[in-house]
Symmetry: C2
Subunit: 323 residues, 2 copies
């Protein structure tokens, strides 16, 4: 196995999970503090023999590292390029890492999850993605930094793309493009990972506006998860995976807003839920609302068998920062 012709390389496969939960209107990802890797990381581990499926392996790792039992799981993406840290075994042995990333959704009775894991607000990672109170105050700053990076040559295209993604112009904000926005910041050298991956020193001037970074490429993976989830709630009823069995329509809307990062129009949201027949009344009411008690609802599992593509085509309320 010394050298020579291209040979099958020894490949280490990592299974990585983005476990999402929403509590009190805030979205969280599950993280672990590993002694080995520096910084905060997503739960993950190598694919080992004996697991029948990839998903089974993933569930086992997450449970071992965080005691969190997963319900809904879907595959996100397989990272194997520069974006995944090489983890070279040294000694010239070709030894690359491929990581298969998954998105998991859990309904969180928050108290229940006091473990060696932490729930990290995902807007700590991507502050600019939270526009529920209007465009994020740091957005203008980011936008300017990005424009400043425009190399003369690709000037026009770059500027247009900055405007398209970070939408300070008249173009509407597209909340689904979280990944593309992160990648643009990465390419512009505006997030720490960009330096870390090239083994350059991180600039002394602290970037307060570009969010918390994670170990390896875990922040990129999280951005992938957010993009996927924001898109998916529009055509599949995955939102309900994050809800307790009974909930009020307001709680449902708060959850949708937490994920999308944009404020939603109350009436339209309700009509949408209603006409899609996504929920039914339980008969109970929630009295801890601070105002009129709200009817309790539950998800109608049957919609999965009835409607072709049930989901909430959430649309921003113009009121604040939708554009």
């Amino acid at each position: 196995m010394a050298d020579g012709a291209p040979e099958e390389s020894r490949v280490r496969i990592d299974l990585t999970a983005v476990v999402v939960a929403v509590d009190a209107g805030q979205p969280y990802v599950l993280t672990v503090d590993t002694a080995e890797a520096p910084g905060i990381a997503l739960p993950s581990g190598p694919l080992v023999a004996g697991q029948r499926t990839l998903q089974a392996g993933l569930r086992a790792w997450v449970e071992a590292q965080t005691k969190c039992r997963l319900e809904y799981v879907e595959q996100l993406y397989t990272f194997g390029d520069r974006t995944s840290n090489p983890l070279d075994g040294g000694e010239g042995v070709t030894h690359r890492a491929v990581s298969i990333a998954y998105l998991a959704l859990v309904s969180m009775p928050m108290e229940q999850l006091e473990m060696q894991a932490h729930w990290l607000s995902w807007y700590a990672l991507f502050p600019w993605e939270d526009r529920r109170e209007g465009p994020h105050p740091l957005l203008g700053e980011l936008h300017d930094d990005l424009l400043a990076k425009a190399r003369p040559a690709a000037n026009r295209a770059w500027r247009q793309r900055v405007d398209l993604l970070f939408g300070t112009g008249q173009l509407p904000w597209d909340e689904e493009r979280t990944l593309e926005r992160y990648e643009m910041l990465y390419n512009a050298g505006l997030v720490d990972e960009a330096f870390r991956d090239r083994e350059e020193p991180i600039p002394a001037t602290p970037r307060t506006n570009s969010g918390v970074s994670l170990a390896a490429d875990h922040r990129r993976i999280t951005a992938t998860a957010i993009s996927r989830l924001r898109a998916k709630i529009k055509y599949r009823p995955v939102l309900f995976e994050l809800m307790p069995p009974d909930f009020t329509l307001s709680q449902l809307q708060k959850t949708a807003e937490a994920l999308s990062g944009i404020p939603l129009h109350k009436q339209n949201f309700r009509r949408l839920v209603e006409q899609q027949n996504l929920v039914e009344e339980t008969g109970g009411v929630a009295t801890d609302t601070g105002g009129r008690p709200a009817k309790l609802m539950r998800f109608r599992e049957d919609v999965l068998l009835e409607r072709p593509r049930p989901g909430l085509r959430v649309s921003a309320s113009r009121r604040m920062g939708a554009v």
Copy 2:
């Protein structure tokens, strides 16, 4: 390495490509006849050392096996479960296969591609997915076979799902659910792969209605590609990856119909293309139309920088079999 605690297993990673092209209004996938594996297969090969990225590895394999140079490539899904054939190395050594599948789109001057590869019409694999001339004649037969498989217990749910996916009732046909339809047929034992994977003999009664099968799980991978592509043309201008530089609007529509498998309304299709500003006139005309000459168009690359999500929200023409 004999036995004992779960250890990192030796994993073989395959890169597999679904290369799609459209010619004369028919959609094709690129296939190879491998001497080793039985039957028709997609181009694929193991991930080897020396390739910088997964995509680079994929491109190399496809080019080596088919002489086809890829342009547009996107990752589809990573298969590692029962769905991917185990390829056990025998001798009790744990040796599973994970295959990372990609979708590639090529613009095909058909004549140019006379190589050791073959272009297989994708409706040979999935006859029921072609509804351009109305619901496929064999659909009713398939539908009945599926209902006959309903176990008494899961009866209602199964029947409803059959109706939802194979839409003989009043539910509309959802062309994007190609993968789910294939998987339902697989689970019902109505495609040959279901028996092959369990190493059971394929029933003697030939299934003329369930299409041609491919090696390993390649037909499932192709179904994944079709689902993805049918969804994606609606919000990203990937359709143009399949077109020659200059084309007429009719050719564009024929291509969209070939992919979607449903007839489109001419007028509305044109308005959509126009109002989305997806194309511009080249000035030339095509005179080989058989009727009035058509204006030649080209894709406006700029839309990628202008519009938030350009695509063709193609909608079936009611005329034939849309419902």
